[in-house]
């Protein structure tokens, strides 16, 4: 046990039971790709389940888990502070993540996610109205 955290001598961390990630270092700002390697968005923040602000954490209580990757206006909130209203927050549930590496891979198609609504809107209402905009170039 180390009384003074400045001391160099620290206990070793216990051996990990799974892949170890540092959230800021390995997840934030990484590009998110769908199952076909199509870019979806970037990871602007993470939603953590199981932390109650101001409440004492009982010893032995289950640790918090990552509930979702947040994107959209969340980057501005992270940089300048504050929280986006829940209705404006775009969530990608962690259960859709298939791999975390240089990029974050999802196991689903990007077009099924709320995170790509702007692209779908532009495609339908702007690109789709341009003559020839509804089919692939020949």
């Amino acid at each position: 046990m180390t009384e003074n955290p400045d001391a160099v001598e620290t206990d070793a961390a216990p051996p990990p039971a799974g892949r170890v990630l540092d959230a800021h270092l390995h997840v934030l700002d990484r590009q998110v790709l769908d199952r076909d390697d199509v870019p979806v968005t970037t990871a602007d923040d993470l939603e953590l389940d199981g932390i109650e602000v101001g409440a004492r954490i009982e010893p032995g209580s289950p640790p918090p888990t990552v509930a979702a990757i947040l994107t959209g206006p969340q980057l501005l909130m992270r940089l300048f502070g504050g929280h986006a209203p829940a209705s404006r927050t775009i969530r990608i549930p962690w259960r859709l993540v298939s791999e975390v590496g240089t990029v974050i891979h999802l196991g689903v198609a990007g077009e099924t996610l709320d995170a790509t609504w702007a692209e779908r809107w532009v495609s339908r209402h702007i690109i789709g109205r341009i003559p020839g905009g509804r089919h692939a170039p020949e």
Partner: protein, 116 residues
């Protein structure tokens, strides 16, 4: 709670003494199994006594290049330590309180299997 609410928080001991700032949150992909990937569980907080920002994590890896940046980052984050989640007593807005007699652990990241 959002990750960004935890990052940059003051880390204080049970007596209210500031011991540093939370610069990162350690996760482990070892929770409940899912179809694609297991749940990511928070296992600890990384605390730097001298800086609120850690960009490249040199203090957690044995990466040495570019040498000048590596040296500067290691100096800036000297004394960075890991506190396991079990040693966290309370999370307030902008402040994390550790339990009395918490253990400061080595912040180094375990090597990936292919690097061993």
């Amino acid at each position: 709670m959002l990750l960004s609410d935890l990052l940059d928080s003051d880390a204080v001991d049970a007596d209210g003494r500031r011991v540093g700032a939370v610069i990162d949150v350690r996760l482990e992909v070892s929770g409940a199994p899912r179809q694609l990937l297991a749940d990511a569980v928070v296992t600890g907080l990384l605390v730097s006594p001298h800086s609120r920002f850690s960009t490249w994590g040199y203090e957690r890896r044995d990466e040495n290049g570019p040498l000048l940046i590596a040296k500067f980052q290691r100096w800036l984050h000297r004394g960075t330590f890991l506190v396991l989640w079990d040693d966290v007593e309370k999370v307030d807005q902008g402040r994390v309180v550790f339990r009395r007699g918490y253990t400061a652990r080595d912040a180094a990241l375990p090597r990936a299997p292919r690097e061993r």
